[in-house]
Amino acid sequence: MDFDPTPFNASEAWISWLRLVGVLSLCAIGLSFILAVARNGSRGVTIFAEGLKGFLSDLTSLNPRRIFALASLTFKDAVRRKALLVFVVFIALLMFAGWFISDSTGRPELQVKKHIALVLTSIAWLTLPVVIYLSCWVIPEDIGLRSMHTVVTKPVRRIEIVVGRILGFSSVATLVLGLMGLIGYGWILRQVPAEVQSHLTCRVPVFGQLYFIDPAGQPSRTGINVGDPWMFRSFVQGNSRARAVWVFRNMTPETVGDELTLESRFEAFRTVKGSESSIKSGMEAQYVLVKNPREEAFGGLAIGATFRDFADALREGQFNNAAERANELAEKIRTSPREIPEQDYGGLFFGSGAANQVLDALATQDAGKPGAESISALSGKFLKLSETVSALSKAQESAGNAPFLSVADDLASIAETLSADAELLRERLPRLEVPLPTFNVAEFHAGDNVSKIPRRIQFTADYETLSRFLSSRVEALNAEGKLVSGDALSAELESSLEQGGPMSPENARLLATVLNEQLSAGELVIADGKLSPSQNRRWLTFFDTLVQKEMLVSQDIEGWKLELDLFNDLTTMNNLRVEVACVNDQMYLGMARPDLFVRLPDRSFRVGYFKSILTLCLMMLLVVVIGVTASCVVKGPVSVFLTLTIFILGQFFHGMMDRISGGKEAGLGLVESATLIFQHRNPNAGMDASESTQNFVRSLDSVSNGLVKGANSIVPDFGIFQSSATYVENGFDVPFDSAVLPSIAAFLAFLIPCILLAGACLKFRELEAK
């Protein structure tokens, strides 16, 4: 997918809507009051009050029966006006559409995309003129022909006429769209060649959060820019430490199922031709499933270069080393605090805050387990550190070095905990990496890079994971009393090790032999029928040493094959971390957030297709609402132009208005640009005018920018409604929170104020004036 789906923030939208509608309503009421007083003098106050009261009374006494009667009348009227003839055009178009769609491309996904795009685009664009014509023309015509008089003389409130008309036209538009949708659906199924029908599906993606790790191993918001003018994707360097890291939330068997499906669509970029197999098969990528609370907790501390060594030691689980680095930093801060760049303190603030949050969550999750208290203590100390660092920016100059001394003290205190609980912390903060088999990148072939990962994963362990596995296995056997027999190791040890889990006979033999050797060498001791490492070391530290000394190199050709549960062992608080690496040297993989997602079971094509029809329908209903509102204010032709203008602005220029309003559009203001063109000067040179003239021109531009901002607030963004079509065209289900909900919200956001405005205008309009 080449766009980033952003979930709709309903509460924020609701607040900004209330604010905007409130301001506009107050303006309208104020303006009406001024006009009433201006035209009628002091009597205007009474007239205004009575009018407002009458309008509010109309609002509270809407009669559904009358509205329904008016709606059914409108429906009949629309049918009489041959609105349904649009079907004929649509069917004619579909009959000959085959001419316009060449299947020379032969690619399944391209063929499917073309067919869907044709149907959805034609539905939208064919219905639009009919809807605009009906909604804009009927009320002015009724007023002109005085047929409105026959209605208003009956006990019908004028706002009911507006609502009835909107409802009537809406039902016509819904009927037309619904039928067109059904016909279009049938046409797609019939027209798409049989061999590519399997591409008519709705994939259901779960997107994660993406950040990058640069070739030096440091976290970064973006990857490398390879010079692509489209900045959508960032690239990671092949055969280096660079990674793209996705974190997927709420990954449980209940949400995902027993098998995890990962789908990706990365882009390849190479600086060398590469081997013949890479030319033929494409570049290779690799997923690594990672559970790494150390990275999550301490990765942020590496932002500032000053604290990077400290962060790296923590990330590697070398807590004694980290304690030394922390003491060094504390000393440096005490002696020359201002030598450290300000942004590094900012990094320390962010990093310690993140460390506190992650460690706190871990401490809560592991409460009661050994080491949980150490983590909790460390978490508290990082919180304190973040507070003291935060206080630095607020501290007055006059405070001197005192605030820095507090930071140094906090770091020293952290060093103390790290040093004291190094072994416990290492035990509780594991780094588990499960590299999956490499695969060739399919690039723009959507749906070709799908990896299915079973819940039980077998993998070859790295050093740290092996140490953890062996220490936990030996501890378990020790607890069961199967490790020791008298003053020696049990004769059954080998078979016990083998029976307990994925350990080959060769490796079980090796482990038993090494344990016996260590016992003889005094590295292990037997006390009270239990085996334990000498000098009160912990089992993890003991095995770490053996593994580092390469005393436990697998005797099995397959290596130390371990088995893990995807959800229980590889997620942290149900968050799954997937790192993506580029395997090939001097090549790069480009990725953006939607390029990798967890694929839930697919839904039927019709689900996404009809959701898309629903959002198109909402768009048409909004056009109806705007058209009817415009027709209550101005005459038919003007109303058509007004509605069309609003539509064109909302459809084609909303993005530009958004950019101008948000200050993201490059360039100068309207008048300033025109002046520069006239003066043949470029924006860098600026206007050839006095300072005061320049200020005057810019103030004029601020007015035009203000107008654009205003228009941006009150013109609906019609692109929202059509975004759902993009999902379906690309074979995705239309997400409720990113596409359907914004469409519903946008429709309702305009429906309510438009009804009030149209009702008020029709109520106070002099019908005899035509």
Partner: protein, 475 residues
């Protein structure tokens, strides 16, 4: 005022329609079939006949596309705006790598501008060259190269009177399959498409209906382009370059065959025949074509002194002017080089030199480069590789004596001869011997000392090429 009832009125309308239909059919009846270039007249209305006579109608320009005509009609006068909008969209889709929409938009543009030569050229080039390189896998790249070729082929169907489009098809095919970085794969794919499912191991018949080599297909297109050029005025390219398409494709075909390796006598014969044919076309077809140069003066590339005198008379200019005109164009198209190259290549002496080098390399790669100890004689016998490289060097000496220009002009000859020497030296070194100080190509070897790093690199590349292919990913 109106005494007619409804039925009478309807009858009157029907009658009116019929009356109006007669002139409409007489004047406006359309042509119902594609019109051939040499058709003297067409079946159809008076207007259709006029359009044909003045070559203004769609039917006279190429195939009729009803959808294109319908689109142009529906847009009324808004075609220009629609085209601008579509072009902008196409650029945006390309930037955003939405290839499906780009292809779709390009098709729409063509519907609106079916006879605009530059659109066919630009978008055909864009698909075959720019879009294809955005993809990583070579078969994906090939797919988009085909798309570009098919696109411009469609342009020729719709524009029978634009010779340059026919030439462009040939150019796309010969350059993509024969010169590009991926030529090794593309040339193979051209006769055996990677989409086995669809083409069953054969060629994509849309671009290669006969399933033959890419240069031969390019040859057909260049020949067709020249035939169109005979009928209509070609614009968009220097004429003397335009007309060299067919013989160049023939020569490139022969050259490619040689690079692929000539395993047996049959292949060698076929290759010599290809060079013969290329040489013949270069000399007897392209060489004798009457071009119009500066001031519309006539000239022929393959001219003798007598021809120059005769042409000068015909042009009414001095012999010097005629000679200058001729010489400029001969130099511009490297006429002499290609003549000598083709001539040398069809010579059995040159074929033997290539063959000896090829066999020598084969022996080297098959480890037949170690001196053999002969028991009875108690001495070492030259390895196969050394013997073959010796032989190749001697043959190269004879070729350069016969075609001295080639030892200066032809980079491929120079490189091959230098590589022969380099291999020969390596064989000696591998056997722990110093190469003799005197050897057949000594002067040539020393005279091209600056090329040695390049030759060394080429030797290394040869060594890499013969290594077994690495295990496919994931395998």
């Amino acid at each position: 005022m109106n005494n007619l009832n409804s039925r009478q009125r309807k009858l009157l309308y029907a009658l009116g329609i019929l009356v109006l239909l007669i002139p409409i059919i007489y004047f406006g009846a359309p042509v119902s079939r594609d019109v051939k270039v040499d058709d003297a007249s067409v079946e159809g209305g008076y207007l259709a006949q006029l359009r044909h006579d003045h070559q203004l109608g769609e039917t006279t320009l190429g195939e009729i596309d009803p959808s294109s005509s319908a689109m142009n009609l529906v847009l009324l006068g808004m075609k220009g705006m629609a085209v601008c909008y579509l072009h902008q969209n196409a650029i945006e889709y390309q930037e955003r790598k939405d290839w499906a929409k780009l292809r779709e938009t390009v098709d729409s543009i063509i519907m609106l501008q079916p006879h605009y030569r530059e659109i066919w050229k630009f978008q055909g080039w864009n698909l075959a060259y720019n879009v294809s390189r955005e993809w990583d896998k070579v078969d994906d790249r090939y797919f988009w190269v085909k798309e570009g070729i098919k696109f411009i082929q469609e342009g020729t169907n719709r524009n029978q009177k634009i010779p340059i489009l026919f030439h462009n098809v040939g150019e796309f095919i010969s350059s993509k399959m024969g010169i590009s970085d991926e030529k090794k794969f593309f040339r193979q794919y051209f006769v055996s498409d990677p989409n086995v499912e669809k083409f069953n191991g054969g060629a994509d018949t849309d671009i290669n209906p006969k399933g033959i080599d890419s240069f031969l297909v390019a040859y057909d297109w260049f020949t067709l382009a020249n035939a169109k050029d005979d009928l209509y005025d070609m614009t968009g390219m220097t004429h003397v370059f335009f007309r060299q398409g067919p013989p160049k494709a023939r020569l490139s075909y022969a050259e490619a065959q040689q690079k692929d390796g000539l395993e047996n006598e049959e292949a060698r014969q076929a290759n010599r025949a290809a060079w013969d044919e290329g040489y013949r076309e270069w000399m007897e077809v392209y060489g004798v074509y009457e071009f119009r140069g500066l001031h519309d003066w006539k000239y022929k590339l393959n001219s003798t002194e007598e021809d120059l005198v005769q042409m000068a008379e015909e042009n009414g200019i001095s012999l010097d002017d005629q000679r200058n005109l001729w010489a400029r164009n001969v130099d511009m198209v490297h006429y002499r080089f290609w003549r000598d190259y083709a001539n040398a290549e069809r010579d059995p002496e040159t074929v033997a030199a290539h063959q000896a080098f090829f066999e020598g390399k084969k022996a080297y790669n098959e480890a037949r480069s170690v001196d053999r100890y002969v028991k009875g004689k108690e001495e070492y016998e030259k390895s196969d590789a050394e013997r073959l490289f010796d032989e190749a060097m001697q043959k190269w000496v004879r070729v350069f004596e016969k075609y001295p220009n080639m030892s200066v002009d032809s980079q491929s000859y120079i490189d091959e001869a230098l590589l022969t020497v380099y291999y020969w030296i390596k064989v000696h070194e591998n056997n722990g011997r110093k190469p003799p100080t005197e050897f057949p190509l000594k002067t040539f070897w020393e005279g091209n000392a600056d090329r040695r790093p390049e030759i060394e690199r080429e030797f290394m590349m040869d060594a890499i090429r013969v290594q077994p292919e690495e295990t496919p990913a994931g395998g």
